[in-house]
Amino acid sequence: MNKTHNQKAWFMVLPVVLLVAFSAVIPLMTVVNYSVQDTFGNNEFFWVGLEWFEEILASNRMHDALGRQVIFTTTILLIEIPLGIFVALHMPKKSGFWSSICLVLVALPLLIPWNVVGTIWQIFGRIDIGLLGYTLDQMGIDYNYTQDSFAAWVTIIIMDVWHWTSLVVLLSYAGLKSIPDAYYQAAKIDQASRLSVFRYIELPKMKGVLLIAILLRFMDSFMIYTEPFVVTGGGPGSATTFLSIDLVKMAIGQFDLGPAAAFSLIYFLVILLISWVFYTVMVHSDKEAGL
């Protein structure tokens, strides 16, 4: 397993390294610098040490936002992944007119810009002019996402499910398409039930793409900002204030660069940790598969 290293190859990637340095490392360094200082303008900075970190770690606002974030991400993963698989399983497998139509229909929500998604749902859910809100209201269901936390949560979750399940569907579908017919034939011969086919053939074969889907959905939903901000503005109260909404309020709204930088770093570390775990699990399981 000893690999020989040719150091000259490094020069080939130098432009990329420089690009990454400018686009990622320098801003990150700046954030670290800001996180230990206070500023009120004029590029004047005042050293405060780890005060912001202590403040944020002790802040209920952060804990609550993190808690909501975890609940949100878990919920949408629990809905979108099974739902995406379910839809993918029921799409036509054979390439042709119907599968193309299905793919286009499924992909549509992904093509809509995020803020537009938010606007669509904000209007859709209104009880005076929105189709959804109006219908629910007419059905006698007490629905008002601007006042009722539960309704706000349901709205945002449905919106995210509507917007992003497609991604899971497309990835799962790609995974399913890669299963040779022979597997289904063998399963028929073995008299496997539909459930067994899913459990022992489709699911294992989709594992790779599903991990990617979960990772993508995790990262995206963990950083979700635009859609809930447009729909509920993080309210009612703080009911739908997720980490990023809180962060943006602090960074842009209050122009509190120091605390916002500290918040960003903690946020960054959490995402880095979870993504790293996902990544390791993925690579690890691939190795096990001998791929």
Binding site: M1, N2, K3, T4, H5, Q7, I26, M29, T30, V32, N33, Y34, V36, Q37, T39, N43, F45, W47, G49, L50, E51, F53, E54, L57, A58, I266, L269, L272, L273, W276, T280, V283, H284, K287
Partner: protein, 92 residues
């Protein structure tokens, strides 16, 4: 080049210099004595680079945890981080 907008301070400079130094040492080390990936207590293959990453990421969380539980200063947390990094390089 005017870098005042980045708001540098001595501690952050030391922080980044330490990380850069660690990276340079790791690179030199891997050139001098190339090492094959090995499987440690986490039951998956790690290269020295992976171990550095695990050490740094873990240290970050150790420091955050220390801040949350005991508050500044972080001298003792840094000691814990150091021990943690050593054990990562030894066993992971």
């Amino acid at each position: 080049m005017d870098l005042s907008w980045m708001g540098w301070t001595v501690p952050t400079a030391i922080f980044f210099i330490s990380i850069a130094t660690a990276l340079v040492i790791m690179i030199i080390w891997s050139i001098k004595t190339p090492q094959a990936p090995r499987v440690g207590i986490l039951r998956f293959e790690t290269t020295p680079g992976d171990r550095l990453f695990i050490s740094l990421l873990g240290s970050a969380f150790i420091c955050l945890g220390w801040l949350a539980l005991f508050g500044a200063p972080l001298w003792w947390a840094l000691l814990v981080c150091f021990l943690y990094a050593l054990s990562v390089f030894r066993w992971v």
